[in-house]
Amino acid sequence: MELQLEAVTKNYKSKQVLKGISLTMGAGVYGLLGPNGAGKTTLIRILADVLRPTNGRVLYDGKDIRTVGDEYRAKIGYLPQDVSFYGDFTGRDYLEYSAALKGMEKARTKKRIEELARSVGLWDDLKRKCAAYSGGMQRRLGIAQALLDDPEILILDEPTSGLDPYERIKFRNIISAYAKDRLVLLSTHIVSDVEQISAQIMMMEYGGIQHIHTGGEYVQMMEGRVWLAEMPAEQLMDYQNRAIISNVRAKDGRMEVRIISDTQPAPDAVQAVPTLEDAYLYLFNYLPGKAGR
């Protein structure tokens, strides 16, 4: 199974949101990281076939998904950024309706709904109206919907927004267990979501995929570029406008600052163990002026 993007561009009037993305994905978990406005959701929507590219094409096993049509959509599970519901649908109605849309058989639908509802912790709430669910419950219901037909390609847009830490971990475990022999594309701007489970992490900015590496490669790339330095609070105010700072912690009346820099930022700065989050900030050059994009 292979999903390939060939010079995919997407324009909204005069604004180019995707700029000729070419990419090949096989089985495995792919994390798509990028700041807001990078074009992640547009790319996800094109892959989910709910949006058409202005130019370029998406190939599934070498065939254009527009010509494959229903057959391609039968292979995908999609969790959009905003999960929506009909006002009078219960959780069970929503999943049954999704199953009908996916063309699932009745007996299998019943079985899968039970499995997934238990798995995402909604079994006792299936009879309640979706509209009465909390944000986290709605998100979990959306995840169950995406997994319902056991899709070959799972496309998740911001799947963990609204989930509490326990639910996030549970979600990661579900996806990890699920991902074997399947393609999972997980778009987020929360680095920790993809750090643990993604085989490949794509960093996206300004409508293009800027980097594709494994989590380990990103961390390796940051060796010698992450520093810890201590400074008074007054100095920090000025310093943070000139440097990429990934963390600040108060320590014995001074500030312990985690700085990302190619060179030693201060004489007393010591090297720290890098993380994916450091790489994210480094690669996107997250200087304060840019963060406001």
Partner: protein
């Protein structure tokens, strides 16, 4: 559960719509009840009318016509010449209502034999008039023209139907009025608009488009399910209207008298070329309303598939409906100029009195085609285009 059942639930079988249907049933019942109460006074008046009319039913009688004329002259001097208005003014005087109705029947008999005046803009009607026009065409050697064939066919039909007979079909006349006049378009088609408007637009406004468009059945099968649910919903709403107006139209007087009279005994259908009984007309009328309701719903459905909101869909649909009603109400001169636009516009084509109450025909490549057949054809084409447009639209639809 199949997609159709879900779509039906979303459109019809939900609390809000069921409540709306209940309110509509009450409204339609009141319409049926009040229209029949305006027709004639209480039950006693209707019974008395029936007993009096029993002696007047049958072929034309000049003595009765003279008697009715005398009463009509007296009463029209006081209440005007509109038979309906007179009847409403003298609801408790069945003998006067009978005379007024017999007077109107006398005029229909006169028209049957002598026809429309030569200066009339209407299509020629009446034995003598048709014979005269045919003779004129024969004199000019135009026996092979479409006009000659059309007039010959009309004359033949008219002769076969024979002179109209007088019948007491008051309640059926009322029913056909409820089912086939302009008020029906407001009572039935406006609610129908609001029931069917959400069918596609709701997916955009609710954001469910994401789920639908990315699924295997979200491009074709869902359209079939939605179309079937729209047809089912429109049939339910129309049936509700038909049932309520039928039930409460007849219930107060507990009578179906006149069900087997010829439809030419109903004033509105006096010129109809169909050799039907009144009950047959009612059956055809009911079927016609179900059919035209379905076509209108498909048009609304098409609009819904192109709009982002339900209110936008309802607004555009109602604008189309009211523009049609406005055009049809603009009088003969405008109607003649606009021709087919009015004939096959929603205002006229949904009214059974327009389609089945006359003798209008169309020249299609030299062939004589009656209005109902042309109407079925045109509405069929419109429906097919709407359905095709919806399928094509959904195939290329994207989220916004």
């Amino acid at each position: 559960m199949s997609l159709f059942r879900f779509e039906l639930r979303k459109l019809l079988l939900n609390k809000k719509t069921l409540l709306l249907l209940l309110c509509l049933f009450v409204l339609y019942s009141v319409v049926g009840l009040t229209s029949t109460m305006f027709l004639i006074g209480g039950n006693d008046s209707y019974r008395a009318y029936g007993e009096l009319a029993a002696g007047w039913e049958g072929p034309f009688d000049s003595e009765k016509a003279a008697e009715a004329e005398k009463i009509y002259q007296e009463v029209s001097a006081r209440y005007g010449t509109d038979a309906r208005m007179i009847s409403r003014s003298v609801k408790d005087q069945p003998e006067v209502i009978l005379a007024v109705n017999y007077h109107a029947y006398t005029e229909r008999v006169e028209e049957y034999w002598n026809g429309t005046p030569p200066e009339s803009a209407e299509e020629p009607y009446g034995i003598a008039l048709l014979q005269g026009k045919l003779a004129e065409l024969e004199r000019l050697g135009k026996q092979n023209t479409y006009d000659y064939r059309e007039l010959s066919a009309s004359l033949q039909r008219l002769e076969e139907l024979g002179e109209p007979e007088f019948a007491n079909a008051l309640l059926w006349e009322n029913l056909c009025g409820n089912w086939g006049e302009h008020m029906m378009q407001f009572l039935l088609f406006v609610p129908l608009t609001f029931v069917t408007a959400p069918v596609f637009a709701v997916e955009r406004s609710s954001g469910m488009d994401n789920l639908i468009l990315s699924s295997r059945n979200g491009r074709r099968k869902i359209v079939t399910a939605k179309l079937l649910s729209v047809l089912a919903a429109s049939t339910v709403v129309v049936m509700l209207y038909l049932a309520a107006t039928f039930l409460f139209g007849f219930l107060p007087h507990g009578s179906f008298h006149g069900w087997d009279a010829a439809i030419q005994s109903l004033p509105t259908y006096a010129r109809s070329m169909f050799p039907w009984k009144v009950w047959q007309l009612a059956a055809v009328g009911a079927a016609w309303l179900i059919f035209t309701g379905a076509v209108y719903s498909l048009i609304v459905c098409f609009i819904s598939s192109r709009m982002k909101s339900q209110m936008g869909t309802a607004g555009v649909s109602l604008a189309i409906l009211f523009v049609n009603v406005g055009l049809a109400a603009m009088g003969d001169i405008v109607n003649q100029r606009l021709g087919a636009l009015v004939d096959f516009g929603l205002a006229n084509v949904t009214l059974m009195k327009e389609v089945f109450g006359g003798y209008k025909s169309f020249n299609v490549f030299g062939m004589y085609v009656s209005y109902p057949i042309m109407a079925v054809f045109v509405l069929g084409v419109v429906s097919a285009l709407a359905v095709l447009g919806i399928y094509r639209g959904q195939k290329s639809r994207t989220v916004v």
